[in-house]
């Protein structure tokens, strides 16, 4: 049961493939980079857009992330996680940096606006693979407590620091830190993530 949850349907072990491609990218192979682009650009763009909301900025940041991937391909460490994990971590980091540098933007200051838009995947997607992944993740998110789920979603999809999450949800700092951790641990177990 768990095994079925952990491998995205319709994509037989794409990670081993991606890793091989990335090794070629590290040697300057532009054709291999095009293959990697096709595999990761959707997840990168979707994630960045869910944090930034603005399509033009999201496109810009997506481009930065992919060029960074090209530039630093030789530095990838498979023992620290899969290619997709690394790329999405990079994408999240860039998106969060961008959203924090534009902190003044009025929308972010409105508590209601922030809470309203959670979780971020209410948009209809046509891709079967994404839809299945959405269902799995949504099902597992339901196994979290309300506080765990909100804290994780605000940090991940909106790019808030744990201090901002604490303020927004009016809970103590230490509690938020712990909920981010045990929320992710519960999600890990439900999704059957092994690393």
């Amino acid at each position: 049961m768990r095994a079925a949850e952990s491998s995205p349907a319709g994509a037989p072990s794409p990670d081993g493939d991606l890793e091989a491609r990335l090794t070629e990218v590290a040697r300057g192979d532009q054709a291999a980079f095009a293959v990697v682009y096709d595999a990761v650009s959707g997840p990168v763009f979707g994630l960045v857009r869910s944090v930034l909301r603005d399509p033009a900025q999201s496109e810009e940041v997506t481009q930065e992330v992919l060029v960074e991937l090209w530039r630093t391909a030789a530095r990838f460490r498979p023992d620290r996680g899969s290619v997709m994990t690394w790329v999405l971590t990079l994408a999240h980091r860039r998106a969060v940096d961008r959203v924090r540098s534009a902190e003044a933007s009025a929308a972010r200051e409105h508590k209601a606006a922030l809470l309203d838009q959670l979780p971020a995947y209410d948009e209809v997607t046509e891709q079967v693979e994404t839809r299945l992944e959405q269902q799995r993740v949504r099902r597992c998110l339901r196994t979290l407590t309300g506080l765990q789920r909100e804290a994780v979603a605000l940090a991940y999809y909106r790019g808030l620091t744990y201090r901002e999450v604490a303020q927004l949800l009016t809970v103590p700092l230490g509690t938020v830190k712990t909920r981010l951790r045990d929320g992710l641990i519960r999600l890990r177990d439900c999704l059957g993530v092994s690393a």
């Binding site: 532009q30 959707g42 857009r49 992919l66 460490r77 690394w86 994404t130 959405q134 799995r136 890990r188």
Partner: protein, 247 residues
């Protein structure tokens, strides 16, 4: 913050939810805590699933743009195995100083960096930054240091400090204009008309002195150009500033 508190930071860390100072402190801990390293790895893989769940195809024209851009971007070389030397240094360096160096050296910081570099790399980098800072101070303070100033770009002024004795030079610019994404300022030594790469100006060079890469070795002057991110082996644009070294 106690060590017990640090162990609970894994979740906030992979979600990029730690403010910079706390993140740096946690990374210091992460280098030594096997349990946290394993947990960070697993929780990062978990967070990745939250990302996959919102995947959406980017605009089609982005593909051509990115594939075009990478043809002009130089790739970073693979990591260098410099373990033995680095270990010796780490042992003698006080822990706190190391943490401070890391905070300064790892500009981007965070879990993405952790994912592609080993603690040794970070320490090696920190060590190199420290050595460079010391060398920079030495050049600026050298008894034989000579200074020359000239225009760089439109309204900026560049200053070069050369120490013949140390065979090194430092460059300082006041308020170089911001560059568009994907561009960087690159420094060059002028070897009688042939430009030799002398490093990039990180962070747009905001009133910060940088040690020029490599020895002066009798160069007659220096130049500054605007290059694609990562720098070029030789100038691809006209210099925005050029200065002859004082003799």
């Amino acid at each position: 913050m106690s060590t017990a508190d640090l162990h609970t930071c894994t979740g906030a860390y992979v979600l990029h939810a730690l403010p910079a100072a706390e993140r740096d402190r946690f990374e210091g801990h992460l280098a030594d805590c096997e349990a946290c390293a394993q947990e960070v790895k697993e929780l990062a893989a978990t967070a990745q699933r939250l990302g996959l769940a919102v995947a959406a195809p980017p605009p089609a024209e982005l593909r051509a743009r990115v594939l075009q851009q990478i043809t002009t971007v130089r790739q970073e070389p693979p990591r260098l195995p410099a373990r033995a030397r680095v270990r010796a240094w780490t042992r003698s360096a006080p822990r706190l100083a190391l943490a401070a160096c890391l905070a300064a050296a790892v500009a981007l910081g965070g879990v993405a960096v952790w994912q592609h570099q080993s603690a040794e790399d970070a320490r090696d980098r920190a060590r190199r930054v420290e050595q460079q800072a010391a060398e920079l101070t030495a050049v600026l303070a050298a008894p034989d240091a000579k200074t020359v100033t000239g225009p760089v770009g439109g309204d900026s002024t560049g200053t070069v400090v050369v120490s013949e004795e140390r065979n090194r030079a430092a460059f300082l610019a006041s308020s170089l204009p911001d560059l568009p994404a994907g561009k960087t300022y690159q420094l060059w030594f002028d070897d009688k008309g042939t430009m030799r790469p002398a490093g990039l100006v990180a962070g747009g060079g905001r009133n910060e002195a940088v040690l020029m890469d490599g020895p002066v070795d009798g160069a007659s002057g220096m130049g500054v150009t605007v290059e694609p991110e990562g720098g070029s082996p030789r100038p691809t644009t006209e210099p925005i500033g050029q200065m002859a070294f004082p003799t």
